[in-house]
Symmetry: D2
Subunit: 346 residues, 4 copies
């Protein structure tokens, strides 16, 4: 069985396990105050093009934890977070945001992307409501990049969102669980420093991009970071051996490994995409990153699922389903070759 | 200015203020453990057709407080409450349910009513999801009766909902902030005892039906009431002088005053409805209770608003808006006459 | 039975019920935006000696609701509220503060009063802790005045607390559920304007001082009031017919009735105190306000409880208990006479 | 610098890093549903002496996360958790339990241990309180074993606690962050199966005992485990690559490595203890496990701290402090030798 159903089927990139082994018995302080974390933060800061005193970086364990902690930290109790209704916080986190007391103001979208206009409209509707004390105040904006649908906000789109958010006083939070796959996509017209400039807080995903676990959270609006380490502990998200995160991010960012392996995964994804397209398949979303959503006849799926694991996405019509194939840093060339051969043989 | 914009513009029915004055200096225990509350609970129980040991009744202050306390009490932390997206808990409570940690699983509806099929579908989608531990578990169902759109579930509809909820193990909670206006509507085919049999917990609204404040919460599933008085205090909703609620409900239910004044309000609403209909107006919702939603030309609204307060509901097209006119126990005949005359003169 | 077990056995002062009756059918907007509330806020502001733009006043229903809403509004998620361990929020609110997510940092005291030194010590301990991200940050200070033990902070004590709190950036919140009884006590050396100057937020209690219900919350630090009306709704504490609170506070404060009835209650309490003292009784706390805590032989209690309701406080030794006798605005002269006669006859 | 200030200065036991390397590229499902986790749960179950259908085991990341998730899952909203005031949940988790809405009912103890009598007394006080709806209901009991003071409940003590808890319907939750160090202590008269029988839920600590991270949570009362995986996700505590925890616990428990390394750490701790005792030092707590709390002259500390890291605990008098020296699975013989030599040379 070749697994394409998600991007975290393996543990971590071999360079990481090597580094963890080398440093294993070195003693260090806990909770992220060690030299590995310090070095990792420095590398991340550099790649984001940020000045040392213009950002605060926190290394966290996983995405849901990061999302709930950031949102709980930024909002006042009567505020909610604007999100696409397909946003991870609205769909696959078992109500983790609501468990912190906040409503997800979920907006319907056709492809999982918010626009500046949509945010402005929510804001205006709130401001215009004569009963505004009876409705949830929009307090921040959450987007994912790439989205859960594999798409990228363009520089123009993200700039517009950023301008609108700043005009309205709404912090813009970008969930970058798959940030590397976005940055390396052929469809990407944004750089990491540009993302850092446009967002108030965002994270550089590790779990799905070669680390055992870890998300590097970057606050570019420093006042939003106030008390954040206490927030992390308050929500159970401060790893005792924080060094584990530091060592992994250091390994990934000291010579660009993070980007190289993401680029490879994207390339595999595009090969798979081409194979499906060559068979005349449509796609649910026009993704150019590591997640591909072909719409396939049920009969094809019955054949493919014998050797290839994928994710069911949604039924499209009586005889077709949209499914998801993911590549990752860990995808093996042979797996891609076999899958493409199988597609051609359908 | 004649006020039709809501059903709580006055304080309370004169019979209540009289009774409060008569009993004013009598000493009693606090927190709802007095003889007035006991008498009120007995009258409410009788009207619900419930046996003394088959229900638990709690007198609460207001609707949002009641909703949030019931929901927080019934759900496990990872569960959410199914509601129409127009449900009061989803729209006009400033995120009070989310502040207790729970997601409102809001379903789009065309008229504000949930169906048994919709509930079944949410349940099935949860059960069928292979990642169900990552999504919010539906834990109960909230409906309002009449709905925020003025409509009534029929006996058949409520029975179907009740059967489905019981089959699926989802408590059915009915928000009866306007219960009396529903029961007295010419469109109603349900009795209070039938509602009591079909719901697991519901309330008999007072604030909008002649009391200064107060909602009588009835648990017909006793195990759901376990610890509820502690919940009330825990959420700041236990009135020190609980007698105030007891006296008011006692006054309303000892000789049917509650029903008589609701019937009168409904009749006024139907007269207003007829007046608009006679002028050829459409209605946003086919309400037969105390809230009426005519769709009116902007020019008419400009004239009406000089003398009559109403609520803006939504713009329908370039030159028409849907608005809401409410009657209540406190609506004066003269106000209705004046409004009807004005409608005829438009 | 003459009831001295609490200060809310009756409904409200006759002047209030009269005013409620007079205004009963007047129509007004809801949620505290009516003319009665506006007038009440103006009177309260005047009595507090505050400029119109130097305070924000919110009329709320009850004490627990007020406490939890203020605390939830002022603290960041990882912060706690410093309180005497006998503070109402720590003892008799069923965990309402914790239900908002915050720890009560309860300090042991001998008499229920915090000192500036105690607050400074908590602050210093936090600042000095090298693991401070692992402990709750003190975020505000809660005191009650009079305390639950009937005592008053003197001007010197409250000034010292206020100076320390302001130096440390900790808002000082004063629970004035019995504020009138404190102000009118012969032991009081503070005025209402002085309290307003020394606290950042406090409330003027109504429930225990002649109103049916109601607490007038005064923010003298305006930025702390930001979004507070949304907070009120978010916690279910915004009364639909807010006018009920406005009318009551207006009645109490337009000609000083609030103070006159509190003074009378204090005088009755001192008469009862003197009667116990004349019989050689000790007191658990040296209260000079409306709550008295005599330490009495069990045999005396057995006799008294036939005709007089009081509250058990604590067992002091094998044969003595401390109990509480409360007077209130509603205490009748005859009840005091009878109690004093009974004490003399013990 | 030799580090004795905590028991998590290194990453993990070499056998674990080896196993992680070996299994690194194997593909597996996420979220703890892989074969490694299954094998680990089986080994843990076996060591606990529990039948396959008599327990539910969840592998979690860290202690605070585990504590808050268990407590939030077990309590009703108005309930609190009984704990020693020195309990980790009450002191060093930044209010994580309160952030879930629950009060820690912290009892003063002299040595960090609760007794059955203390629990009974809290329960009785609640039951006897006529205002019990106004106070937090005790809903469960939290203990740590070993305690934060290095002490062990004896079989008799734990049995008494367990009997009392079961009689009163209070689940007993044992925080075993250092469970191995307890089991291997010469002072221990309990076995792991006995602990499993006496507690309703407990965890076998990994983070402080040779794993990179991980705590194995065991429910022996199955109904308490209901919905727990949803709770884990709801609180952000479900590791995407759950296999990481499975592999580590499997390595530790397949041939008793967990016990062997804990025993070694305890032996080192006793050697250090003996060295201090030989110099006439007193100890703050009579710990026989891996944490030692000698009371030392300030002058000695000034000398020791040049080469040895320890934790400050508390000042004892003008010239002495109690400090903590921890050993762990990672403590090197040379470090112990050097420390003992330094103690002798003081």
């Amino acid at each position: 069985m070749f697994r394409f159903e998600c991007d975290y089927s393996e543990s971590c990139h071999p360079a990481i396990i090597e580094r963890l082994a080398e440093t294993n018995l070195i003693q260090s302080p806990g909770y992220g105050e060690d030299a590995f974390c310090e070095a990792a933060r420095e590398l991340l800061r550099r790649d984001c093009g940020l000045e040392p005193n213009a950002c605060a970086i926190h290394l966290m364990i996983g995405g849901t934890q990061t999302n709930l902690t950031v949102i709980a930290s930024l909002l006042r109790p009567y505020q909610g977070v604007i999100s696409a209704d397909s946003g991870h916080i609205n769909t696959h986190e078992t109500g983790a945001v609501e468990a912190t007391g906040h409503k997800v103001l979920a907006l319907p979208t056709k492809d999982g992307k918010l626009s500046a206009e949509m945010v402005q409209a929510v804001y205006d509707a709130y401001q215009d409501d004569v009963t505004k004390e009876h409705i949830v105040q929009p307090g921040m904006v959450y987007i994912s990049w790439p989205t859960e649908t594999g798409l990228l906000y363009t520089k123009e789109e993200l700039s517009a969102l950023s301008r609108t958010c700043r005009k309205l006083g709404l912090p813009l939070f970008l969930d970058g669980a798959r940030l590397g796959y976005g940055l390396m996509s052929s469809a990407c017209d944004l750089t990491l420093p540009e993302i850092a400039q446009l967002c108030d807080v965002f994270y550089i995903g590790g779990t799905k991009q070669g680390l055992m676990m870890g998300e590097a959270l970057v606050f570019t609006d420093l006042k939003l970071s106030n008390g954040f380490r206490s927030m992390m502990k308050n929500r159970g998200g401060m790893l005792a051996k924080g060094r584990l995160l530091g060592i992994q991010f250091q390994t990934m960012f000291e010579d660009g490994l993070y980007y190289r392996i993401a680029r490879q995964a994207d390339e595999y994804a595009m090969e798979i995409r081409s194979a499906f397209a060559a068979r005349g398949c449509d796609f649910l979303y026009p993704s150019m990153s590591n997640q591909q959503f072909p719409i396939l006849p049920d009969a094809w799926l019955a054949k493919l699922e014998k050797d290839f694991a994928y994710s069911f996405w949604q039924r499209v019509d009586e005889s077709h389903c949209a499914v998801r194939f993911c590549t990752s840093w860990g995808t093996q060339p042979e797996a891609v070759e076999q899958l493409i051969a199988a597609i051609r043989a359908l």
